[in-house]
C-alpha cells in the first residue's frame, strides 16, 4: 500500500520536473543574450595557452584493465573494453597500425543518457544521438566528499550536505553538473576500486532524497561520480532502487561515472565538456570528459 503510494508520488514528481525542465530549456534558448565574437573565442584559446585558464582531463584510460560493472552472472553482461589488433606495420597491413575495439556503452568514463533507465525511456531527446548539443558544455559544482568516503565506503550524500555546500559556494545553478568528489578514482587497484564483498559493492553515492532535491529543487543537468555508477554501491536496496538512475533519467537528466581528477577542480567555476558518441538510440557512451578551469 505504502509502496503504491510512493510509486504514485514518484510519478507526480517526475511529471512536475519534466514541466520545469522544458521551461529551463526555453530560457536557455532565449533571444537577446549577448553573442560572443570570434575575438572572445580566440581570447579563450589565448588564455588556455598563456595559463589564464587550464584544462583538466577527467577521463580514465580505456583499457582492459579498467573493471566493468558487476551484475549477477545469469543476467546480461556489459562487455569490458577489449582491443584486437588489425595490423601493426606487418603482413596484415604493411604501413599502418590500428585496432578493433569493443565495449559496452557503459564502459570506463562514460555518459548515461535518460533512456538508460526505464523511468526515462519515453522522454524526448533521451538517447546519445538526440541529447541537445547545448548540454555538452555546462558548469560544474564539485561537492568534496573525499574525507567522508575515506572513512566510510558506503557514504551517502544528503540534502543537508548539499545545503551546507551551498552556504559556502552559493546555490547550485540550474543545468549544471553536480560532481561528487570522493577520490575513489585514486584507488588504482581494480579490486579496491570495485570494493565488492559477499553483500555486494560498497561505494559512495547520493541518497534518494538528495537526488530528488537536485532534480526537483535545483534542476541540475546531471550527476557525476568517480565510481562505477552514479548510484551508491548498495543502491539496489534503496527505495526506489538505484535512485540516481531512477530520478535523474526519469527527469531527462544525465549521468557521468568513472570520472577522475575531480580533486583538481574548484568547487565552482569550472566548465565541463562532455559529449557522448553519437550512437543511434544509444543509452550511453564512453567519452572524453574534460574541464575548463579558470586560473593556472
Amino acid at each position: 500500500m505504502k509502496a503504491a503510494k510512493n510509486a504514485r508520488s514518484r510519478k507526480k514528481t517526475l511529471s512536475r520536473t519534466m514541466r520545469k525542465k522544458s521551461r529551463v530549456t526555453e530560457r536557455h534558448a532565449k533571444k537577446g543574450a549577448p553573442v560572443p565574437s570570434a575575438n572572445d573565442l580566440h581570447a579563450v584559446l589565448r588564455a588556455a595557452a598563456t595559463g589564464g585558464i587550464h584544462l583538466v582531463d577527467l577521463t580514465q584510460t580505456l583499457s582492459s584493465d579498467f573493471p566493468p560493472i558487476v551484475l549477477p552472472p545469469e543476467m546480461g553482461q556489459s562487455r569490458p573494453f577489449r582491443m584486437e589488433e588489425i595490423s601493426r606495420y606487418d603482413e596484415r597491413g604493411p604501413a599502418w597500425y590500428w585496432n578493433n575495439v569493443s565495449f559496452g556503452e557503459h564502459t570506463g568514463t562514460h555518459f548515461d543518457a535518460p533512456i538508460h533507465w526505464i523511468s526515462g525511456r519515453d522522454l524526448p531527446h533521451n538517447t546519445t544521438d538526440t541529447v541537445p548539443i547545448g548540454h555538452f558544455i555546462a558548469p560544474a559544482c564539485v561537492i568534496d566528499c573525499s574525507t567522508e568516503a575515506k572513512k566510510d565506503a558506503d557514504f551517502l550524500l544528503t540534502v543537508e550536505r548539499i545545503k551546507a555546500w551551498e552556504k559556502q559556494h552559493g546555490r547550485v545553478p540550474a543545468l549544471s553538473w553536480v560532481l561528487m568528489r570522493t577520490d575513489w578514482s585514486k584507488r588504482i587497484d581494480p579490486v579496491a576500486y570495485q570494493n565488492l564483498d559477499a553483500t555486494g559493492q560498497h561505494t559512495p553515492g547520493p541518497d534518494p532524497d538528495c537526488v530528488r532535491f537536485l532534480v526537483e529543487e535545483r534542476d541540475v543537468l546531471g550527476f557525476g561520480t568517480e565510481t562505477i555508477g552514479t548510484d551508491a554501491g548498495q543502491a539496489a536496496h534503496f527505495s526506489p532502487p538505484y535512485p540516481c538512475h531512477y530520478y535523474m533519467h526519469g527527469a531527462g537528466k544525465y549521468g557521468l561515472q568513472c570520472l577522475c581528477n575531480l580533486d583538481r577542480l574548484p568547487a565552482t567555476g569550472a566548465l565541463i565538456v562532455a559529449a557522448p558518441l553519437k550512437i543511434r538510440r544509444g543509452s550511453g557512451s564512453p567519452l572524453r570528459v574534460f574541464a575548463i578551469v579558470p586560473g593556472r
Partner: protein
C-alpha cells in the same frame, strides 16, 4: 603430504636446446583403427564377423577367410612374451637418441603375434604379460607389454614415461582457478606431484571461495589471466610461456540457454569468446613456446589439455549455444593437435557430461563431481590417451556417438541425455 618430485638440475644455458624427434608416424588408414582405440585408452584388434578370427596387423580383409566384415573389438591383451631383444642400433633418429631399448614378441592368447616395447617390470622371456596400446610421441598406437599381474604405471619405466604426460615434477598452467573444476584440478595436480602450478585469475574483483586456499599451496602461484583479453594472454605467455610443460585450459563460460530462451547473441558471444576464442588466443600465444621446448629434457613441454564437454559431440539443445561453443573449441583443438603433434606434444581433450556445479544445477543426476573430473584429468596425463569421456553420461554419449551420430543428434535435440 603430497610428494614433490626432486627438481632436475638446471640446464646448461650455453648448450643448444634439443629439438624433438618422433618415432615413425605413417600408418595405413586401416591401421589407424589401433590409434583410434588407443586414443581412448583401449587396446582393440580387428575381429572377423564371419569366421571369428582375431587379426594383426590390421588389413582390409580377413587373412583367414577373406571376408571384409571386420570390426574393431577391445582385447584383454593377455599373452606370453616368447622372445625378446635389446635394440642397440637404429637408423631412425628417434630411436638412435634413446637406445638401448628392450622389445619383444608377444603371442596373445587371442592368437596373434605382435612386437611390443617391454616395461621395465617385465621379466626375461618367456613369461606371461599383458599388452596395452599406448600412444607414442608421434600420437600413434604402439604396443607396450607390462607384467600380467598388477597395474604398473608407464611412467615407472624411464623410457615409457615418454608415452605419458605424467604431471610429477612438471610445471603446469591451469588457465582458470576460479571454477570449482579448475580448483579441483589444481588440488589433484598437487597430489600427483606437480612441481609448480600457475593458476589463472580473471576479474580479480570477483572473489570466489577456494582460491585463497590454493594461493597458500607452496606449489601454486595465482597469476592474472583473462582468456577473453588478447593482451592478458600475450603478457602471461611472455612471462611464463618458456617455462610451461603442461597447459590445462579450464576456462569455461557456461550459460544454460537454448536458442530461444535467451534473446540476442550477447551470451552466446561470451560463450564463444571464452570457450572458442579463448582457446585460440592461448594457442597462438603458448603453442609456439611449448613446441620450442618439446625436447627440453629432462623437464620438457609435453601436453595441452582442453576441458571440453560431451555436448561438443552432439548439441544438447537446452544448452544449445554452450554446446555450439564447445563444438567450435573441439574443432579448434583438432587443429591444435595437428600442429603440436609434429613436435611430439599431446593434446588431451576431456569431454565431461553435466558437472555438479551451479550451471548444471537443474540437470538430473548422474553428475560428475569436480573432484572426479580432476582425477580423470590427472589420470589422462599419467596414462597415454588423447580423448577422455569421464563419468556415466559421457560414456553413454560417446558409445551412442560411435554407434550412430545421427541418432545421437536426434536424441540430444529432444533434450534427452
Amino acid at each position: 603430504m603430497p610428494e614433490r618430485a626432486a627438481r632436475p638440475q638446471p640446464k646448461n644455458p650455453i648448450l643448444r636446446t634439443r629439438q624433438p624427434t618422433l618415432p615413425p608416424a605413417s600408418r595405413s588408414r586401416v591401421a589407424l583403427g589401433l590409434t583410434a582405440a588407443a586414443a581412448r585408452g583401449c587396446f582393440a584388434l580387428q575381429v572377423c564377423r564371419d569366421c571369428g578370427a582375431v587379426q594383426y596387423p590390421p588389413r582390409e580383409v580377413c587373412g583367414a577367410c577373406l571376408s571384409h566384415r571386420l570390426i574393431w573389438r577391445p582385447q584383454d591383451g593377455k599373452g606370453a612374451l616368447i622372445t625378446e631383444t635389446t635394440l642397440r642400433t637404429a637408423q631412425e633418429l628417434y630411436f638412435r637418441e634413446r637406445l638401448p631399448w628392450r622389445v619383444g614378441i608377444v603371442r596373445l592368447d587371442a592368437g596373434v603375434n605382435l612386437i611390443a616395447y617391454l616395461h621395465a617390470g617385465v621379466g626375461a622371456a618367456p613369461c606371461r604379460v599383458r599388452v596395452e596400446a599406448a600412444l607414442d610421441r608421434a600420437g600413434q598406437a604402439a604396443f607396450v607389454a607390462i607384467p600380467e599381474k598388477g597395474r604398473p604405471d608407464l611412467s615407472d619405466d624411464p623410457k615409457l614415461r615418454e608415452f605419458t604426460c605424467d604431471p610429477r615434477g612438471r610445471k603446469i598452467l591451469v588457465t582458470d582457478g576460479k571454477t570449482s573444476v579448475g580448483q579441483a584440478i589444481v588440488q589433484a595436480l598437487v597430489k600427483a606431484g606437480a612441481d609448480k602450478i600457475w593458476i589463472g585469475e580473471a576479474e580479480p574483483w570477483k572473489k570466489i571461495s577456494g582460491l585463497e586456499a590454493l594461493r597458500a599451496l607452496p606449489q601454486a602461484t595465482v597469476i592474472p589471466l583473462d582468456v577473453t583479453d588478447g593482451g592478458s594472454v600475450q603478457e602471461l605467455a611472455g612471462e611464463i610461456g618458456g617455462k610451461v610443460d603442461i597447459l590445462i585450459n579450464t576456462a569455461d563460460y557456461h550459460r544454460t540457454f537454448s536458442i530461444n530462451s535467451r534473446r540476442g547473441v550477447e551470451t552466446a558471444q561470451l560463450e564463444m569468446d571464452v570457450n572458442y576464442f579463448g582457446l585460440l588466443r592461448l594457442s597462438q600465444a603458448f603453442a609456439p613456446m611449448l613446441k620450442a621446448r618439446a625436447a627440453d629434457q629432462p623437464s620438457n613441454a609435453i601436453a595441452w589439455v582442453n576441458l571440453l564437454s560431451i555436448f561438443a559431440l552432439a548439441n544438447y539443445s537446452p544448452h544449445g549455444t554452450y554446446s555450439a561453443s564447445k563444438a567450435a573449441a573441439f574443432s579448434l583443438s583438432q587443429a591444435l593437435r595437428a600442429e603440436l603433434r609434429a613436435a611430439g606434444l599431446r593434446v588431451i581433450n576431456i569431454f565431461p557430461g553435466p558437472i555438479d556445479d551451479e550451471w548444471d544445477q537443474l540437470e538430473m543426476p548422474p553428475k560428475l563431481s569436480p573432484a572426479s573430473l580432476a582425477t580423470a584429468t590427472v589420470e589422462a596425463l599419467k596414462g597415454s590417451v588423447e580423448d577422455v569421456y569421464p563419468g556415466d553420461v559421457a560414456q553413454d554419449w560417446v558409445a551412442r556417438h560411435l554407434d550412430n551420430p545421427k541418432a545421437l543428434e536426434r536424441e540430444a535435440g529432444e533434450g534427452a541425455r
